[in-house]
């Protein structure tokens, strides 16, 4: 074991030297020293002196050259013959040992051993792959022992529409769903009809997908958007009902973030479950960098802890559902966004769809299995009625099962980040033919939009110049060059804008 006492720092060398001399003494009569031992002692002393002078253990080199052997530590008879003559001490070459004075000679010997290093001490990729295979098999075994028994199919419903950020959002959801270890059906409902753009994107997932088009363009105002999304989700549930798909329904909005624990947790649901959703109420624009805060009743102290608001089930100490945590919209009444791409806080509804999971049998036709507290599908599925959340499917909301250790664990995050509604992007993000430079609309409805930006021809010229000037780090010169190229009076703001690649979205 580790021996770190100061006593031993008297040096192993001196100890081993004393030890070394003792077998020699043992072989020879105690008092008389044979010439051989004297010779070896003198040689040892000489080696020590030379090493002192040279500054390294030259004797090791000498022995290595004299008896150049491979560094194998297994004791053989050759070594045993050698070592009775050699002074075994610190001054020795690598294959140096003392055979332990033991009954019935052991294979294992005390003393200095070589450090075996193979010629190419680096990982072999084939073995790494084998090891990963072993790890995966072990994990599958663990999952079957300790994980969910009889896992059910997960049915994810995602409303989407073609816009700039669609690829970004949908790729995120797609990758999360691809990592789910259970069977999955992905129902993608697209506003404005099914398009090839979306179809090609979700085909990359390799999952079983149902791509449905929904008539109706996604509106620009946030309020209307929520309504349309709810209708799209109801449409998906209608498809579920018609096709009698069996499994657990969860609502994966394309801009949300899901943790993989969520999918393990929802396997526990019986009929209706609720999870806690973290609300990342996005505040657009770097000027208002404050995160949304939960207003507390005792707000006398000015310390506002910037906690993330959470929507979800509220439980009492016996882990029964007693109420709901919802999003408090009061602090944001003035500053909330009204349309997609607005630079203001985007607010969620009271209870978002994403926080609920349903057993798909709730929307099936047959009456036998359904519990009494669920409304008839025909009652719910009436056009014109704004179904705010899946709670409208239930007559009695107390039957909802809180998941994620009774709502204490936040398993997914709600976020709405979009580009401006009129922003353009290349179809399928393939630049073919080469990009036209997009010029933003001259007359925009947004009052604080930046003033008229230079036209394309000028831009082509300014950009390389500003790039060249930048490394010189002379701010004034930069200003002057851009100033000279631009028609308008220069503000610091404009400088920043012109140097930043303008017109991007």
């Amino acid at each position: 074991m580790k021996q770190l006492t100061a006593l031993q720092q008297q040096g192993r060398r001196s100890n081993s030297f004393r030890n070394a001399s003792s077998p020699l003494d043992a072989t020879v009569d105690g008092a008389i020293k044979s010439p051989a031992t004297i010779f070896w002692l003198v040689l040892h002393g000489l080696c020590c002196l030379i090493s002192l002078v040279l500054g390294f253990r030259f004797s090791r080199l000498v022995f290595f050259l004299l008896f150049s052997t491979s560094s194998s530590p297994s004791a053989t008879t050759i070594y045993s013959a050698l070592q009775t003559k050699l002074p075994s001490s610190g001054v020795a070459s690598t294959p140096e040992r003392n055979i332990s004075v033991g009954a019935g000679g052991s294979r294992v010997v005390v003393g200095r051993h070589g450090i075996l290093i193979r010629p190419w001490p680096h990982p072999d990729p084939a073995e790494v792959m084998k090891a990963h295979g072993i790890i995966e098999r072990v994990q599958t075994e663990q999952r079957s022992l300790y994980g969910v028994k009889n896992p059910r199919t997960v049915i994810a419903i995602t409303p989407t529409y073609v816009r700039t950020f669609q690829t970004l959002h949908l790729t995120g959801v797609m990758h999360s769903l691809m990592n789910v270890p259970y069977d999955l059906i992905w129902i993608v409902v697209e506003a404005g009809g099914a398009t090839n753009e979306t179809a090609s994107l979700i085909a990359k997932s390799g999952l079983r997908t149902i791509h449905i088009g929904f008539n109706g363009k996604m509106p620009v105002l946030w309020e209307d958007r929520h309504k349309l999304e709810s209708r799209m989700r109801l449409h998906a549930l209608r498809i579920l009902r018609e096709q009698r798909l069996d499994g657990i329904v969860m609502f994966a909005d394309d801009s949300n973030m899901h943790s993989l624990e969520l999918f393990d947790e929802i396997q526990n649901v019986k009929w209706v479950g609720a999870v806690s959703v973290g609300i990342l109420a996005h505040s657009g624009g770097s000027e208002e960098g404050e995160l949304p805060m939960v207003q507390r009743d005792n707000n006398e102290t000015d310390e506002k802890k910037s906690e993330m608001p959470v929507q979800g089930p509220a439980c009492n100490s016996t882990n029964h559902l007693v109420g709901w945590h919802t999003f408090n919209t009061l602090p944001y009444l003035e500053r909330s966004a009204r349309y997609i791409g607005d630079r203001a806080v985007v607010l969620p509804r009271q209870l978002e769809w994403a926080g609920f999971v349903l057993n798909s049998r709730l929307v099936w036709e047959d009456k036998l299995e359904k519990p009494v507290w669920v409304k008839e599908w025909e009652d719910v599925d009436r056009d014109g009625e704004d179904v705010e959340s899946p709670l409208s499917l239930l007559k009695d909301t107390s039957v909802v099962e809180p998941l994620g250790s009774c709502g204490r664990k936040v398993l997914l995050w709600w976020l709405r980040v979009e580009a401006r509604a009129d922003s353009k992007f290349p179809a399928r993000w393939i630049i073919d033919p080469p990009l036209d430079v997009t010029v933003p609309a001259k007359r925009t409805p947004w009052p604080d939009a930046p003033p008229e930006l230079p036209t394309s021809a000028e831009k082509v010229v300014t950009i390389p110049e500003s790039m060249e000037k930048r490394p010189t780090k002379s701010g004034s010169r930069r200003k002057r060059s851009s100033r000279s190229k631009r028609k308008h009076s220069a503000k610091v703001l404009d400088d920043r804008l012109s140097i930043r690649h303008p017109g991007d979205n």
């Binding site: 770190l4 297994s74 051993h113 450090i115 193979r118 680096h122 098999r137 663990q142």
Partner: protein
Amino acid sequence: MRNRRWVFTVLLFLALCLRIQAFKFHRTQRTERISGSAGDVLEDDPVGRLKVFVYELPSKYNKKILQKDPRCLTHMFAAEIYMHRFLLSSAVRTLNPEEADWFYTPVYTTCDLTPNGLPLPFKSPRMMRSAIQLISSNWPYWNRTEGADHFFIVPHDFGACFHYQEEKAIERGILPLLQRATLVQTFGQRNHVCLKDGSITIPPYAPPQKMQTHLIPPSTPRSIFVYFRGLFYDVGNDPEGGYYARGARASVWENFKDNPLFDISTEHPTTYYEDMQRAVFCLCPLGWAPWSPRLVEAVIFGCIPVIIADDIVLPFADAIPWEEIGVFVAEKDVPKLDTILTSIPIEEILRKQRLLANPSMKQAMLFPQPAQPGDAFHQILNGLARKLPHDASVYLKPGEKALNWTAGPVGDLKPW
């Protein structure tokens, strides 16, 4: 009188209902029974199979030493103290020495600690010798057999050789007075001076409470392939390497330091126990001595131990089939460790994990307080019971002397 009886029966009933559980493990569905080489011996009950008499030594041999340094209760040699306490209240204890099969001498030889907490063995031979002189002069049982039916717990590095340096320990050999006694020790290496025939190898002490607080849910997927935390070079005592661990640890480092499958380093993370539960293999290489508490930790946390120590004798080797549970790698094969581990068939790996998950396996490696059935205390008693009945040659004829009371270095003969 009758009231008292009722009260007593009620209390007894309550005591039966509220059993103290010092340690609880996750019950898994698929575990395999450990069948030792002598049959299913891990679950044997020693009560009734042997009787142990505990000598009453003056407190300077045990209590006073412990009072001077209570760290002895938590370091890895604490087994000697806990064994004493266990035997005092155990059912195998007898107060009549005439009917005893085994005699136990409670002397704490590993409790003289440095400021760092490491035990100094320099006074241990004298202490042991003094204790034996005491028992041989106050009771006739030592002289009857010259210690052949006595057992001693010597958990230090090289057992009864009483030294931490292997060369010195070999030179000293086992204390001459203990030549006939049964030694219960942590050190075990075949064909070594400091392991005598008939010794019982035990695991080093690991604190059960501490390990239980660090248990993580068994559904946490095991994502580390090989895990090790500890020294590779002992720079203080062996600067060039080659002495420490016979160069094996240094070899592990040099060959696998950039291998993504090997999570090895010298750090002391606070999540050490949790990380072991997320690993498939845990390296248990030798250090200055071949044994290590890593073996105990690996067994408790379900990580397959990879034992790199030539000729090591593992704890309770006659009861636990270590070849089926762990992986043994010769020191010369360390450069090929990754090939060896990845070429183990997956069914064997799963089988080893099932064997490790068996609660009786984990229980046998621990020293819980209060003692529980199947724990290390009981395994020691089982081992002692298996050595019974004593051979007739154990009893010496009157006047016959087997031990040399003046053998050994001169320093040992000084009174303690």
